[in-house]
């Protein structure tokens, strides 16, 4: 079929919203045989086999050399069965967390799906994290199993293994013949020795299935937990917001270490029965264009940073490729600027459709749909089944709704969609604080126009969005404070035309230390080793004092004002230390 002969899944927005119910959406899925509940892995893989679709290609894995390997739905079912049996033989209890620290590799899929079959909780960590963020996240989730590579293990986990008492099993996925690190087991050997059949046990739809970490302004990262029934929202949003059809070749470029890479890089497209492109290599603009062309990608879900990096290539380069298979382009991660939407039209003959959601929502909540005119710069309209509003928090714990269109306020969602997070692991109070007056408060500032389109304004807190990664300033500040030369530190997101924001640290040095280039490099090196390049600051600036509140907290708002040369605003609570 040519792209324009595939009808959109969502044609009449108003009618679909009116007729939609999550209960009905659940019936689009099969449920475990015999009414034994709802399990993500069954919906993603096994049910297709029962319909005679086992031979269809589930994964097309592309290596760094361009060589590709196909994995069918039947093979994916078998390998995930084997991994479920491995977990059982290791004595891992259902409900326990199984972690992956992997790039985009086939093993990631076997691990995720096998974990769900075993009724464990799958948690994928960003492989560009340094040892510190990995250690924190393994500790919070009491991870008992970790699937990773020998190289990642040696660089990021081995030195801290002794301080991870819950981590009983480390399984090494390796393409080379390097010897197994001490205290680990061989993933492939375990899989090969395991039984290829596995019967998924009864699965309560509300049982925990996914653990995704996200960052706040203060404190440790938050472990947002999602249930098996989240799959209902993954499936429905994959159809509506990404216009995914069973015959599609779909490419989600997100890293599996973030929620997009799991919700839409694994679950949603598999439940629909599409073929997923799994590119194991790092970002390279021209390589990506070749993949779009050569793999005849129909639907592409990417991020603004990647788009802006590709825009640097110049439109002439793009016109050398054949993108006639492309039907739908979508983007998430940061707001997509209007020029990027127009660039999509020039480059591919199709606009880029921005959408909005976050770790806590588990699935796309607001989107520009295929059968709807895009408003460039807008995040779009709420999905069927999603109620969104602009609200203002009141001191008594309630909220007031915006009375008119175009008023800026906090974006809020009415709870009830199936992929809503069910807890922050071990932090009930932090979870409760996200809700007020019967709404989930997203922490994003937005406005809603007269036509019901939402527009992103900014974050209500100090969390940094850099190249699509959510970074908590506290996590970065803590690591810098451990350096012997650092007295005080404040970290902000500095606006950047390509990556949205770059992490920048303002540092006050201790007496006896000089804030010179040598120290700047030493601090950068320290932060990069501990946090990883994606989280560490890219810039460090020395100051003689930092703006503090009377209670001694860093005023990041003022640091941002310094950076941008803006007026400093109300400084009545400021205590300057000259």
């Amino acid at each position: 079929m040519t792209p324009d002969t595939v009808p959109p899944n969502l044609t009449d927005y108003a009618t679909t919203c009116q007729e939609f119910s999550w209960q009905a959406a659940r019936h689009e899925l099969d449920g475990l045989p015999g009414g034994a509940g709802l399990n993500i892995a069954y919906e993603a893989v096994d049910r297709h086999l029962r319909k005679g679709q086992g031979n269809r290609v589930a994964l097309r894995c592309i290596g760094g050399d361009g060589h590709s390997e196909d994995i069918s739905y039947a093979r994916l079912s078998e390998l995930s069965n084997r991994f479920a049996n491995v977990l059982q033989s290791l004595g891992v209890e259902p409900g326990a967390a199984v972690y992956a620290l992997l790039g985009r590799t086939p093993a990631l899929f076997f691990t995720a799906l096998g974990t769900w079959k075993h009724r464990g909780v799958f948690c994928s960590l960003f492989s560009a994290f340094g040892p510190e963020p990995i250690h924190t996240r393994l500790s919070i989730g009491k991870g008992g199993v970790l699937v990773t590579t020998a190289s990642l293990y040696a660089r990021k986990v081995a030195a801290l293994r002794d301080s991870l008492p819950d981590l009983k099993h480390v399984l090494i996925v390796d393409e080379t013949d390097t010897p197994l690190p001490e205290g680990t087991q061989d993933f492939s050997q375990l899989l090969a020795a395991a039984d290829e059949d596995f019967a998924i046990g009864p699965t309560d739809p509300t049982a925990p299935a996914l653990l995704h970490f996200t960052s706040g302004t203060t404190g440790e990262p938050k472990g947002a937990v999602h249930a098996h029934e989240a799959v209902v929202a993954h499936h429905a949003s994959g159809r509506f917001a990404l216009d995914l059809h069973p015959q599609d070749v779909f490419w989600c470029t997100a890293d599996p270490g973030w929620v997009t890479g799991v919700s839409y890089g694994v679950i949603a497209p598999l439940t629909i029965g599409a073929t997923l492109i799994v590119d194991t290599a790092d970002f390279d603009a021209q390589r990506w264009l070749r993949i779009l062309q050569d793999q005849k990608v129909n639907v592409w879900y990417t991020a603004p940073t990647a788009v802006r990096m590709m825009m640097r290539l110049g439109i002439d380069v793009l016109h050398r490729y054949d993108f006639s298979s492309l039907r739908f382009l979508a983007s998430v991660g940061e707001p997509l600027s209007p020029d990027a939407v127009y660039w999509g039209e020039q480059a591919f003959g199709l606009p880029l459709h921005d959408n909005w959601w976050q770790t806590e929502t588990g699935a796309i909540m607001i989107a520009n749909f295929r059968a709807m005119d895009i408003k460039p710069g807008s995040m779009g309209r709420p999905l069927p089944g999603v109620q969104a509003a602009i609200v203002y928090r009141r001191d008594d714990g309630g909220v007031d709704l915006a009375e008119e269109a175009n008023q800026e306020g906090e974006l809020a969602l009415r709870p009830g969609w199936p992929s809503m997070f069910r807890e922050y692991l071990g932090e009930p109070e932090r979870y409760q604080k996200c809700f007020a007056g019967g709404w989930y408060l997203t922490g994003d500032l937005a406005r809603c126009d007269d036509d019901g389109f939402f527009w992103f304004v900014g974050r209500a807190d100090d969390v940094i969005k850099s190249a699509g990664h959510l970074i908590g300033p506290f996590e970065v500040e803590s690591v810098l404070l451990e350096h012997p030369a650092v007295a005080e530190v404040g970290v902000i997101g500095k606006p950047d035309p390509i990556v949205g924001q770059v992490v920048k640290a303002f540092v006050v040095v201790k007496p006896g230390h000089e804030g010179d280039e040598m120290l700047q490099r030493a601090l950068l090196a320290h932060a990069r080793k501990r946090l990883g390049a994606a989280v560490a600051p890219r810039e460090i600036e020395f100051r003689t004092y930092l703006p503090l509140t009377r209670s001694g907290k860093i005023m990041r708002r003022l640091l941002k004002a310094w950076e941008l040369g803006l007026p400093e605003g109300d400084t009545s609570t400021l205590l300057k230390q000259d």
């Binding site: 790092d282 970002f283 603009a285 990096m309 640097r312 390509i498 990069r528 390049a533 994606a534 890219r538």
Partner: protein, 82 residues
Amino acid sequence: MTKDEIRSITLEVLGQIAPDADLDNLDPAKSFRDQFEFDSVDYLNFVLTLEKRLEIKIPEIECPRLASLDGCITYLADKLGS
């Protein structure tokens, strides 16, 4: 500019962007990404800093040629007419 000068400027810029990298033991033929933590944002900053430092324009389409130290020296020598 001699190739030695290009080499030392390239290493200096690398050291600014990724001061955690062990540049003394760099394999000049292997890509930076295969030897130390160097993500796509680092790579972009590396290219932009080289552009500023050498007062040249490096088109995005030619950036893959700057993936290794040898690649950088060959490309930049060519570009600067060394």
